[in-house]
Symmetry: C2
Subunit: 123 residues, 2 copies
DNA sequence: CCCTATGTTCAATGTTTATTGAACTATTGA
DNA sequence: TCAATAGTTCAATAAACATTGAACATAGGG
């Protein structure tokens, strides 16, 4: 089922849901990593976040991030590629995403899962 | 007890707690109203929010807003005056508060308790 | 066709959260 | 001193949330 996960349209993205999504340290770390990647390939695989939590827990957080409109997933072969929905978010809530990401960067050493981000390499 | 409610210091304000606090529609409406008031008296009484929820429920949300560093309360006679901790928030998370408030203003008609804000007058 | 790698879904658990009304505290004013 | 006003605290409840492991689905490589 759910060959292509459903995402809200731009207009369906709601502020409280976005803030709630970003308030979880693990999801904040995911968004942060996706933002770092924006200058490079724009996309990351689920497996790139294995350092943050167990697989099923990550899938749960991915679903929330998708449902609230923060990121988009597309399926390529056996893996999922995800990217931030920056254009939609910037259109709906100008400056919000950058403020959150910059704040997270400033506090990187305090935010637990985020400070563990350097250790993305597994095995 | 708690003659003067305890507030975190500027440095103790944490990003996830702030985002979580702002993700609740009632608390977002409170912060929004406080922000509107910034150009005027800077402070509002608890009673000014009676349109948003019951008294005890409001007290619960006020406590959360205080504990996460979003607002400050001082006691004057029989009432409490509360204001946004804008300087601290802007110092810790530049641009965040404004982005949230502007986004809330844009979506004012969608955010339930916020659109009921005009009806602050009670009796 | 089977095996492996990548993720998701499901069920179960324990925790946190929002909401309510009743009881309580403290201050003001008659 | 008594009553009214302004808010908080407490206990109880129901809903939402995060986390875990096991089972499942899908694609690709031998």
């Amino acid at each position: 089922m759910s060959r292509t996960p459903l995402h809200p349209t731009r207009e369906q993205i709601e502020l409280p849901m976005v803030l709630d999504c970003l308030s979880d340290p693990i999801r904040l770390a995911i968004v942060y990593q996706l933002a770092q990647q924006e200058r490079v390939s724009n996309e990351l695989r689920c497996g790139d976040f294995n350092g943050l939590a167990g697989k099923s827990n990550l899938a749960y957080h991915f679903a929330k991030l998708r449902e609230c409109g923060l990121m988009q997933t597309r399926i390529v072969g056996t893996s999922r590629l995800m990217r931030l929905r920056r254009e939609d978010l910037d259109a709906r809530f100008p400056g919000l995403l950058d403020a959150v990401i910059n704040s997270a960067a400033k506090d990187a050493d305090r935010l637990q899962p985020l400070s563990a981000c350097d250790v993305v390499e597994a095995d």
